[in-house]
């Protein structure tokens, strides 16, 4: 039973709380995003400091343990980032990740601070404003070293695969960019439309043969992407979701669901985060809400309807 005085504090904190629906990162420098390791075991907030070609970006690891700051680390306040808790961005803990590893946008940092972080190693941390850093790391007896070593383990899990891929190693996991599924603009010619449709079929064949993976279901939280994908159906009467459901249904509903039930988007997102839960097999359909503004039709993915439960 929560004591009465605490309940008042909870109500006050609840009133201050920001909405929790988070978009996908736009893949731009300065974004604070959640990166997950290819095996899904590690999820961490990172700062994007550089965009590379081929869907790769350079990131710096962030943490909530601000007391562990050294003179190389940047303290980021909620007012600076839009993320509700204080963060510590660690310029010395950096590496590459695939764009597909970035699953949620949680905030952003101003250009000058992002540049300060990106330049920290070259400037011996002089680029970091001193009032936002800690004191220099000492010798082997400095206990902050233990913390940094643990952080390196998480960083390694995030960057290992992408770093190996950049050095020429084949990646075990190839994930399609959601944009690969988008139809051409409405103004495209009939030939262009048809070519795009054939490309889509080729793409889906490669998915079916296991050569590549579909992006996470979380991609569908982007309303614009969802709207664009719906256009395929309108253009060619092509049921894209038949393909998608084959590959995503088992992974994204953690709780037991009965046939006919609609599982709201929020709960899907939760389930996708909870890697510790077993993954029941279900077949689903996608539920969306259409809205009209002038001539523009917008589809918003709202839920999954369970067609058949395990």
């Amino acid at each position: 039973m929560i004591p009465e005085p605490l309940q008042t504090k909870i109500a006050s904190a609840k009133a201050r709380r920001a909405p929790s629906n988070r978009p996908l990162p736009a893949f731009e420098t300065g974004e604070l995003a959640v990166a997950k390791s290819p095996d899904g075991d590690v999820r961490r907030i990172i700062l994007i400091t550089k965009i590379e070609n081929a869907g790769v970006c350079r990131v710096r690891l962030a943490t909530n343990e601000i007391e562990m700051a050294t003179d190389f680390d940047l303290r980021v306040e909620p007012a600076d980032s839009g993320f509700p808790a204080r963060l510590l961005v660690q310029p010395e803990l950096f590496g590459p990740v695939f764009k597909s590893q970035l699953v949620e946008l949680v905030g952003s940092v101003a250009d000058e601070l992002t540049n300060a972080v990106a330049e920290a190693l070259r400037t011996d941390a002089d680029s970091i404003p001193q009032d936002r850093t800690g004191l220099p790391l000492g010798g082997s007896v400095d206990l902050r070293r233990d913390f940094k070593e643990d952080e390196i383990d998480d960083l390694e899990a995030l960057v290992r695969e992408c770093r190996a891929w950049l050095m020429g190693a084949p990646s075990d996991r190839r994930i399609l960019d959601p944009k690969a599924f988008l139809p051409p603009p409405a103004t495209a010619s009939q030939d262009e439309m048809f070519d795009a449709y054939l490309d889509l079929l080729d793409t889906l064949k490669s998915v079916d043969s296991g050569e590549v993976e579909l992006p996470d279901l979380e991609s569908l939280f982007d309303t614009e992407a969802f709207t664009q994908i719906r256009r395929w159906q309108e253009l060619f009467n092509f049921n894209f979701w038949d393909w998608w459901s084959l590959h995503c249904t088992r992974a994204d509903i953690a709780r037991a669901s009965s046939a006919g039930e609609e599982v709201p988007v929020d709960e899907l997102r939760l389930a996708a985060l909870d890697r510790g839960n077993p993954e029941p097999s279900v077949t689903v359909d996608f539920v969306s809400r259409r809205s009209f503004a002038g001539e523009t039709v917008t589809h918003e993915f709202t839920a999954i309807r369970v067609l058949e439960a395990a």
Partner: protein, 307 residues
């Protein structure tokens, strides 16, 4: 066991409901188990729980961080525990700073190396130095020397008043700081210094029993003699500037600061540091690593703590 999904659903609906309260309670109970009551007294475990929820989970929005990065409920609990440790450390820092302040003021008043101006506010300075307020640009270097140069001591878990510094080393710390600042400090300056030094240290120390950190090897009389012999041979080799360069190298202060203090270029600082290293090398080579470290530590304290 509650799943992360259930916690998340409750979080979305109620922000902080019975499931999160139970989990927090479990984390605090387990977190305090085996810890000496001195780290959270005079309050009781229930006050710790409510203070932790109000200050950390709600006030600092740490719940949002946990839900953002946790991969399962066990991970969520680990994140929660780390923040509890941080909360306990912040509570203890205040108590420890108060204790260190009392001891420091006594040393600053009784020891011939220091002088004081009675206030309010009281101000303290080196007998051989200036009584004017210190220049703010020196603060960071002074704190770095104190943090990285002066060894702290771990306490037995049941000890109610951990010392953190021996009396000798506390005197040396004050000497090093005041010498670096070349000016006078107030009580609040000193309290800020101790808080800055102790916060990362206590946060990490409280992760496990301090007893586990107690050194397993105490130097033998023979080893002490070796260190003293090396120190006696090295000290005459270092003039005041070389000692200054050594102290800042040992504490890992930035070269730019040292260059600015000496009025030379960064390259010159690097050259002088190399020269100090060359002077030390013959006296250190051949010693086991732990004795090399002990010699350098003693050299830092000897050059920093002299009148």
């Amino acid at each position: 066991m509650t799943s992360l999904v259930e916690l998340r659903v409750e979080y979305e609906r109620e922000h902080f409901g019975a499931l999160l309260y139970d989990l927090s309670s479990r984390v605090v109970t387990n977190g305090l188990r085996g810890k000496p009551p001195s780290i959270y007294q005079p309050t009781g475990p229930e006050d710790v729980l409510h203070g932790f929820i109000e200050t950390v989970l709600l006030g600092q929005n740490q719940l949002e961080y946990f839900f953002t990065v946790a991969t399962d409920v066990q991970h969520f609990e680990r994140l929660c525990y780390r923040q509890l440790r941080r909360y306990l450390a912040s509570t203890r820092v205040q108590t420890d700073v108060d204790r260190l302040m009392k001891r420091s003021v006594k040393i600053l008043r009784d020891d011939d190396r220091f002088e004081s101006i009675d206030g309010p506010p009281d101000r303290f300075f080196m007998s051989s130095g200036s009584s004017l307020p210190f220049a703010p640009g020196r603060w960071r270097a002074a704190a770095t020397l104190a943090l990285n140069g002066v060894p702290r001591i771990f306490s037995e878990p049941k000890q109610r008043s951990p010392k953190i510094y021996t009396d000798d080393n506390l005197g040396i710390l004050l000497s090093i700081v005041l010498r670096e600042l070349e000016g006078s400090v107030s009580r609040s300056d000193l309290a800020k210094l101790f808080e800055e030094i102790l916060t990362p240290w206590l946060t990490t120390v409280l992760e496990e029993d301090e007893a586990a950190r107690l050194p397993s090897h105490k130097p033998t009389g023979e080893e002490d003699a070796i260190v003293s012999e090396a120190l006696e041979a090295i000290l005459p080799l270092l003039d005041e500037e070389a000692a200054f360069v050594f102290r800042h190298w040992y504490a890992k202060t930035k070269d730019d600061y040292v260059a600015d203090r000496l009025g030379v270029s960064r390259t010159t600082v690097i050259n002088r540091r190399n020269a100090v290293g060359s002077a030390l090398q013959p006296h250190l080579e051949g010693l086991p690593v732990h004795l090399q470290e002990a010699t350098l530590r003693s050299l830092f304290l000897a050059t920093g703590g002299s009148p």
